[in-house]
């Protein structure tokens, strides 16, 4: 269990972390969400001892993390970085060796990863000669080459095309299934909702929402009704009892109501005017929960 316990850090007057606390277990994949500047990167750096905390600690199974523990951690920083002139294969072998692998073993593992990521024929090319997407893949490989038991990735989906994102998602899912502890941050909330069972939302250095995505959605006091209609009548919907907000994008009405509201009441009233199609009634999306949590 990787536990962030009361992480607190200020840079002068700027509070980066303000008692941030959450935990991830082996085999879990946690989506770490938060607005820009909320403390995600600082938290991830704390896992690797890259900042000195004012208070609190990151622990692994209840113990402080030692440099030896970190050899089994994999890190993909937000700002990607590899040696531009070094060959992809050499780079992975070097990073693997720095994580305590034998040179030959590290090289073999690196080549195998490049193969899995579809870069087998680029191992002898300097990284700077690869396309941006392929550099991202090498960066992922750099975090994975030593088969880490804890994987921390800062915005791994940034700048990836849909196919690249799919590859990334599959690799992360597979690592978690094999028992690794995976934390990644992202702003692509739909992707996180698909990929993660667990999320933690940080805002202004504090965790404002944490837990199983399905539970969090079920526990929300709101529900969402969506339907299509030929006429826009947001004005009518606004006047209905219990409706919290409504919006209309030209095709589709989205109505947010309290969870306990009887949905038929809304539909009955709306239905009186014209035909309604494609009605859905659901828990809020992660994206909606996120907006509420950081509001």
């Amino acid at each position: 269990m990787l536990q962030m316990q009361d992480l607190t850090k200020s840079y002068g007057d700027v509070v980066a972390l303000d008692g941030c606390t959450f935990a991830v277990g082996p085999g879990q994949m946690l989506g770490f969400l938060g607005p820009n500047g909320s403390g995600k990167t600082t938290t991830m750096r704390a896992v690797f001892g890259l900042i000195r905390l004012d208070r609190g600690a990151v622990t692994l199974n209840g113990n402080p993390i030692s440099p030896n523990d970190r050899l089994a951690f994999g890190y993909m920083p937000e700002q990607r970085g590899l040696y531009p002139k070094m060959k992809a294969g050499d780079q992975l072998a070097y990073l693997g060796a720095l994580h305590g692998m034998e040179q030959a073993e590290a090289r073999r593992a690196g080549l195998q990863l490049l193969d899995e990521l579809g870069l087998a024929d680029r191992a002898e090319d300097p990284v700077e000669e690869l396309s941006f997407g392929n550099q991202q893949r090498v960066q992922l490989a750099a975090a994975l080459v030593h088969d880490p038991s804890v994987l921390v990735l800062d915005e791994p989906f940034n700048g990836l095309d849909p196919i690249g994102a799919e590859t990334m998602a599959n690799v992360l899912r597979q690592r978690a299934q094999n028992g690794a502890t995976v934390i990644f941050s992202s702003h692509q909330l739909d992707m996180v909702e698909d990929l993660c069972e667990e999320v933690a939302v940080i805002n202004a250095g504090r965790i404002v929402m944490e837990g199983n995505v399905r539970d969090l959605k079920a526990a929300s006091p709101h529900r969402v009704i969506e339907f299509e209609s030929s006429n826009g009548y947001a004005a009518v919907l606004d006047q209905l009892d219990g409706v919290i907000t409504t919006s209309f994008d030209g095709h589709r009405h989205t109505v947010i109501v309290p969870a306990e509201l009887d949905v038929r009441q809304v539909l009955n009233r709306a239905d009186s005017d014209s035909g309604i199609q494609h009605i859905s009634y659901s828990t809020p999306s992660l994206s909606q929960l996120f907006k509420e949590a950081v509001a």
Partner: protein, 400 residues
């Protein structure tokens, strides 16, 4: 994982990646070519040098006439070396003329050359020329009196004229020492600045392309800095030795200076101070490199260091003239100037063993202190991106 193996990995990467880079190979070639040019150009252009010779006593004219003949044998009429020959009354008058630079050398009674100093400057070429002329005359005389072949060999191997400078008897070794002092000073300056610059840009490069954050997840900042300094130091030393050997071979072949047997202790001293000087400057350059996020800013971050090296270098020329002076003694114990001064003083045999050991101890102490300080600046600077940091800011914000 053990600290030593992490350090070894960092060093090995530096050796492998930098050692086979086009930049390293090109800089080795360019440095060598430049140094060879510096050695060969004076020889190639020597036709334009004019000499002024003083004669004291008798038996000189023959040697001087022959020397002028030899010098101008193959020269075009308009490129002939001009000689001005004056007769002086006494050895004292000759010494006075030498120190006031009216003459480059004096010939006394056809048996001794008097020079200002064994400095490797133009007087040395002149004395070589006079020696050559005197040997030729002696061989002529031997041939005329049917002397043995063994005598001829003796004359060819030796130097028939005695050599004395205003500072005393100039031995061949003394001349070689002066050459080493000059050459070593130049090489030291070039080495400290250029290899220091490698450390500077190496560190800034890792920071600017952000690979440093991946590395710091498993490598401690001091390991990264020390590994870089050791790796670049080894490559620098290899280039330094290669260049120095190429220079020595050329010196012998081209005969710019009449290089006799080499005092190896001076060379050892040069290499020792190369290592000490490189370590000091490189650690500081590394720390400077960690303050900036972009390559464009690296030069400005290192300007103070470059200036210190420049001042040390120029002040060393004063030491060359006065190796026992107060300035020389003070600079011996100032860590950042010692690498330029101590080898010079050692080469000129003007430093005591106690002072030498003292200066090495001060330098090593400084290196240890700098490792700690530079390590902290480096650790503080590495993960702060954006505008250039001040040394103090980096030092105070060190988190690692």
């Amino acid at each position: 994982m053990k600290t030593s193996s992490t350090l070894r990995l960092v060093v090995m990467r530096e050796l492998r990646e930098r050692g086979r880079s086009a930049a390293y190979i090109a800089s080795t070639i360019i440095t060598t070519v430049l140094i060879l040019l510096a050695i060969l150009l004076p020889t190639l252009l020597s036709g334009s040098t004019d000499y002024s010779i003083g004669m004291v006593g008798t038996g000189n004219q023959e040697i001087v006439d022959l020397a002028i003949d030899i010098e101008n044998t193959d020269a075009e009429p308009d490129q002939e070396t001009q000689f001005s020959v004056t007769t002086l009354e006494s050895v004292e008058a000759a010494e006075e003329a030498l120190s006031s630079e009216e003459i480059d050398a004096a010939l006394v009674n056809g048996s001794e050359i008097l020079l200002r100093s064994a400095s490797g400057a133009s007087g040395d070429d002149l004395s070589g020329l006079l020696q050559y002329a005197a040997s030729t005359l002696e061989i002529d005389r031997l041939v005329a009196t049917a002397g043995s072949d063994a005598d001829v060999v003796d004359i060819l191997a030796g130097e028939p004229l005695g050599l004395r400078t205003l500072e005393g008897v100039a031995s061949e070794e003394n001349q070689a020492r002066t050459v080493i002092a000059y050459g070593g000073l130049m090489l030291m300056y070039i080495a400290v600045l250029s290899y220091g610059a490698w450390t500077l840009t190496g560190v800034t490069e890792e920071k600017s392309n952000r690979v440093v954050e991946v590395l710091l997840a498993t490598v401690k900042p001091w390991q990264l800095l020390a590994g870089k300094v050791i790796g670049i130091g080894a490559l620098g030393l290899a280039q330094f030795v290669f260049t120095a050997v190429a220079a020595l071979v050329t010196l012998r072949v081209a005969g710019t200076f009449d290089l006799p047997a080499f005092p190896t202790d001076s060379l050892v001293m040069l290499i020792l101070w190369f290592l000490l000087g490189f370590a000091m400057y490189s650690l500081l350059f590394g720390a400077a490199g960690s303050l900036v996020s972009r390559m464009e800013d690296a030069q400005s971050a290192s300007t103070p260091l470059t200036l210190v090296a420049l001042v040390g270098f120029f002040m060393s020329f004063l030491v060359l003239d006065d190796p026992d002076g107060v300035l020389a003694i003070v600079m011996t114990y100032v860590p950042l100037t010692a690498p330029f001064v101590v080898p010079v003083r050692f080469a000129l045999e003007s430093i005591s063993m106690v002072a030498l050991i003292g200066s090495v101890v001060v330098a090593i102490g400084f290196i240890i202190g700098t490792t700690f300080l530079a390590g902290r600046v480096y650790a503080g600077g590495l993960l702060q991106f954006g505008s250039k940091l001040k040394w103090r800011e980096a030092l105070q914000s060190s988190d690692l």
